[in-house]
């Protein structure tokens, strides 16, 4: 399966962000705290749900606790994608 990229993350965030309350995720902002970008725990769970459905990858609910920045998010999803490819 292909890697989960910043562009994927930006696209899914835009879908969830119809209400325009989340700040844009950018290359320069990969290490900004997700909370500072407007994500509370439910917004993050909502995003994880969208990734699971669209990329058919299993992401445990407690993943929320380990994701502090967009880079963490990308790394976590890509690790899971690699794991499922090896399995």
């Amino acid at each position: 399966m292909a890697a989960f990229t910043l562009q994927d993350l930006q696209r899914l965030t835009a879908v969830a962000n119809d209400e325009d309350y989340l700040k844009d995720i950018t290359e320069e902002g990969l290490d900004v705290e997700l909370a500072d970008l407007g994500f509370d725990s439910l917004a993050l769970l909502d995003l994880i749900g969208r990734v699971q459905r669209e990329y058919e990858v299993d992401l445990p609910d407690d993943a929320v606790g380990t994701m502090k920045t967009p880079r963490d998010f990308l790394d976590f999803v890509n690790d899971r994608i690699s794991e499922s490819a090896e399995a």
């Binding site: 325009d20 909502d46 994880i48 749900g49 459905r53």
Partner: protein, 409 residues
């Protein structure tokens, strides 16, 4: 003075200073009031879904409500339609009371709403995804959108109100119990309570849940479907919406020269199936709490469920407490439908406007009233009104009553 009197004296400390009406009869208190006096009904064929395959096809929908215009966009996908209606109502009520929450101490503002259905439409959508596509398709916001306290929580967060928060689920009676709880909080450390409430369950799942009571009217003609206290009574028409109310201490309201009316008394009770009704006792307790004799009540806004047997129980209770035909009784709720958690708050708003203008709105459509009560029919009735009694009876046995008085009483 004995201790009971001291307690009752404290009962005159609560004033309703803001009304946020959102119902089939209007999107503001004045629009609602104008519709009632004109006998203009908001009941029509349900349009939120196709009701043709259901035994009940009529509802009191809030047709002019558009969430994208009236609710912060962020909250629309995170909350149910019932919460949308209440967020709008709360904003209107606060503006009506000229309250700027940002200027008040956050821990002295409380929120207590009434809700009997929760987020059924939101829940149905997520259940469809669960059974149609699988657990991963259930959105994260289902966790906070469905449950009864969601509306209270969202109002609290939006307006920065961090005092005591709660929700009361006692079907139609819950709206009056919320008023009772608001009064308790005003006697404590809260200076302002956002109270009242809404319900909105006109989706297939919500309607089917309501059908199980057997109390909904299956008549398809809007003007004949909901005729409480009429010998042709066939049940009630469900509606959506309600009213959000701002409650403040009388001293604060007086200082600002504002307020629609006082809450003079409140009582609640419970009726066990197969046992004699406790309604007369609840009515008397509310009168006692207000320190009024039955002759001190100028008008009664009845629960008026539209079921012949239950209407008879209510009419008998009113006749027992007030004497047959001794007090005008009305139920303009036939124009909005029955609103569950939002119903009694809307009745409170209607009663306060009635006290303000000295006119009792009528109960349209009733032509063959049951005996024992003076039901206001055909046209509104002018009257010198100082006090009003609002009665609510909830499915499951809840009952409650609130006595209101003009601010100069």
């Amino acid at each position: 003075m004995n201790p009971v009197d001291t307690q009752a004296g404290a009962a005159t400390d609560m004033v309703i200073t803001g009304l946020g009406v959102v119902a089939a009869t209007g999107m503001s208190a004045e629009e609602h009031w104008t519709a009632l006096l004109a006998g203009k009904s908001g009941i029509g064929r349900i349009s939120r879904f196709d009701p043709s395959s259901y035994p009940v096809t009529l509802g009191g929908e809030v047709r002019d409500f558009t969430a994208r215009e009236q609710v912060p966009r962020r909250l629309i996908p995170q909350t149910d339609h019932w919460t949308h209606l209440a967020l709008y109502g709360a904003e209107r009520a606060l503006a009506d009371a000229r309250i700027d929450p940002a200027a008040l101490p956050e821990f002295e503002m409380a929120v207590v709403t009434s809700s009997s259905s929760g987020g059924t439409e939101f829940g149905q959508h997520e259940m469809e995804r669960l059974y149609g596509q699988g657990p991963a398709w259930v959105g994260a916001y289902q966790s906070i959108a469905w449950f009864y306290a969601a509306t209270t929580g969202q109002i609290s967060i939006r307006h920065g109100m961090r005092g005591p928060c709660g929700v009361i689920s006692a079907e139609q009676a819950g709206g009056l119990d919320a008023i009772g709880q608001a009064r308790r909080l005003l006697r404590g450390e809260s200076r302002l309570v956002v109270t009242g409430g809404t319900d909105a369950s006109l989706c297939p799942y919500g309607l089917v849940a309501q059908l199980s009571t057997g109390l909904l009217s299956r008549v398809a003609e809007p003007e004949r479907a909901y005729l409480p206290f009429d010998q042709r009574a066939s049940g009630y028409v469900p509606g959506e919406g309600g009213a959000v109310l701002i409650a403040e201490r009388a001293a604060d309201a007086r200082r600002k020269g504002r307020g629609y009316g006082r809450v003079l008394g409140y009582a609640s009770g419970f009726e066990l199936p197969g046992r004699p009704t406790t309604l007369p006792r609840t009515l008397r307790k509310a009168l006692d709490d207000a320190r009024l004799a039955p002759s001190g009540i100028d008008v009664v806004f009845a629960d008026a469920v539209g079921d012949p047997r239950r209407d008879r129980v209510e009419a008998d209770a009113l006749a027992e407490v007030f004497g047959p035909g001794q007090v005008p009784v009305t139920a303009p709720k036939v124009l909005s439908g029955r609103l569950y958690g939002g119903g009694a708050p809307l009745d409170i708003a209607t009663a306060l406007l009635s006290l303000r203008d000295g006119v009792i709105p009528h109960t349209p459509g009733v032509t063959r009233p049951v005996g024992g009560i003076d039901l206001v029919r055909d046209t509104p009735r002018d009257a010198e009104l100082r006090t009003a009694l609002v009665v609510a009876r909830g499915y499951g046995g809840f009952n409650a009553a609130v006595v209101l008085g003009r601010t100069d009483t």
